[in-house]
Symmetry: C2
Subunit: 388 residues, 2 copies
Amino acid sequence: MLGNFTFCNPTKLYFGTDAMKGLDEELPKYGKNVLLVYGGGSIKKSGLYDQVIKILKANGKEIFEDAGVMPNPTVKKLYEGVERARKAKADLILAVGGGSVCDYAKAVSVSVFCDEDPWEKYYLRFEEPSCKIVPVGCVLTMVGTGSEMNGGSVITNHEQKLKIGHVFGEEVFPKFSVLNPEITYTLPKYQMVAGFYDIMSHILEQYFSGEDDNTSDYLMEGLMRSLIHSSLIALKNPKDYEARSNIMWTATWALNTLVAKGKTTDWEVHMLGQAVGAVTDATHGMTLAAVSMPYYRHILPYGLSNFKRFAVNVWNVDPTGKTDEAVAEEGLRAMEKWMKELGLVMNITDLGAKEDMLDDLVNATLIMDGGYKVLNKEEIRDIFKASF
Amino acid sequence: MLGNFTFCNPTKLYFGTDAMKGLDEELPKYGKNVLLVYGGGSIKKSGLYDQVIKILKANGKEIFEDAGVMPNPTVKKLYEGVERARKAKADLILAVGGGSVCDYAKAVSVSVFCDEDPWEKYYLRFEEPSCKIVPVGCVLTMVGTGSEMNGGSVITNHEQKLKIGHVFGEEVFPKFSVLNPEITYTLPKYQMVAGFYDIMSHILEQYFSGEDDNTSDYLMEGLMRSLIHSSLIALKNPKDYEARSNIMWTATWALNTLVAKGKTTDWEVHMLGQAVGAVTDATHGMTLAAVSMPYYRHILPYGLSNFKRFAVNVWNVDPTGKTDEAVAEEGLRAMEKWMKELGLVMNITDLGAKEDMLDDLVNATLIMDGGYKVLNKEEIRDIFKASF
């Protein structure tokens, strides 16, 4: 049953080959000082950096830079970014990059005018912003996190061995996002397929929760079918515009709050994966892939009817003459086959995890209560053991 | 392939059994003068009117009323509403009703400060507003049109025998909408099922266009499957909250711009149905139902592959060993069976149309160019003939 909820997603999206024109429409709405946030410099190689600088200058902006945002943005980098934004008196934070850069930009945006320690306030105590928020805009270079149209922001604290996500309200959503599928062509295959699985995982975290049969479930089945279809085309030809554009659009709708409305959600795979990320610094989507099959096989008996539905409606498993368990397992096997075909990392050993990290992994894993089974520490340990 | 587009839907939705609380959150954002717009008085019988008045008064509002909005709001009524809104110096137009009331409120909102004749400017010349727009809020009592989260506004001119819809931009979308599925329980069955088919028709108009295989198509298949499933439950038990809430949510997403993004759309069924509405004043959803099967059977050969896809993915038709034509026709027959089961009016005779109205019907039908076949006048005549 659809529970009570509110829905509002005010982010304006510019989508397609001419999406960059959106910057010319949006930039005049903000003050002069723009903090340009980006990652390791791939946007300089691709020419995107020059393109953005040119548009900013043409719009009369004063540009301040905050480069070097890492794939798992750290709390140390966050403190540095906040200082830069304060010095720049930033009127707009423009994130040019993937989900990490966008997540980081949001973290900075709620911290510039915050008197408290943002790590403690937002990521340890999960409090909401009570200060002025600097508006964020986004030019997306990598698909997967959905960060371009939501309030999600994940920050890593290596000292504390924690990687924690805060899902902020609509006032922290990017004001606008520029989504040009062609920009994602140059992404290395490893990052591309990791992003594909990140999308799949977002949907599964919301799909495998509750006993509902609501519109969201049907929408999610549609998103998954589209993703599976397009991912295999993109794998063969990363420059297939149709596939890449549909995947980009799917990613946005997988995590822009729509499909979670009125239903419970799980997110335990993200907690397990983020623990792996905290101790290994591995690529986010791969950490999710590496723990997914052991987790889903563990919870399958508790959510059997939905695993069966998943097999039939998403993977076209024919249920005739089979037990529910057999149908459900056939669905998981179909997903596993697809994951291997994409070239995803299917175990945490290949991501750099070692047996002696087991305690750290277990300790870094937050326990959620929206899944089919609330895990205990022993079960988390077992799932990690099965993931090596 | 996903074409280039922008997406922005800023409407805030309050959904569920406690959705009316949203009024308390929204009303303080607007000035004192509220123009309360509603229809024939069913909201007085149901108690909703008293409830809304109480909330408006508790929020210190000055209430001005504009009652009697008819199912097909007329241009005459529009002129009257504009005068009322001007006299009231309305800071907010609050529409309490179904799609007609909401459509009408939007028409008033763009006309209050407009120096020109709104019928001519917006509905004959399809121009965009160049004046101040009075904000609109909505309390929805009937499901189907999607008007609660889009810029659509259909107005009827009986003298000119025209019923025309203008799809306004996001600045005309309701600022907020209150969606409580329980409010829809009291709706007579005729209106309820007409609304169900209105939803289906909105999806089909967007689905049956272009040769694309994009995320939108998968989303629409999900929406249709959910609608078919829930509609049959609601038919047996109109107070089944799960069914009614999912249908309400499906209706919103069927026509809030999402599924049309990046693709072509048709809308010829609406043009045919609106012509029927213009000459008979019949219920909107029923006019769509009455012309749908003749239209779809006429265009099937031109969009065969998508009609086949529709049969397999929406109606679970098994394509094994059948020709594409047979599969496609089996899908249409399945839809026809569902329509009859709902009790929809399947011909225009039962809606009051007579053979001598044929010329008027053909003349009132706008010809769209997004479908699988751009109709000529003779084909329109044939489709109407097959609809008697």
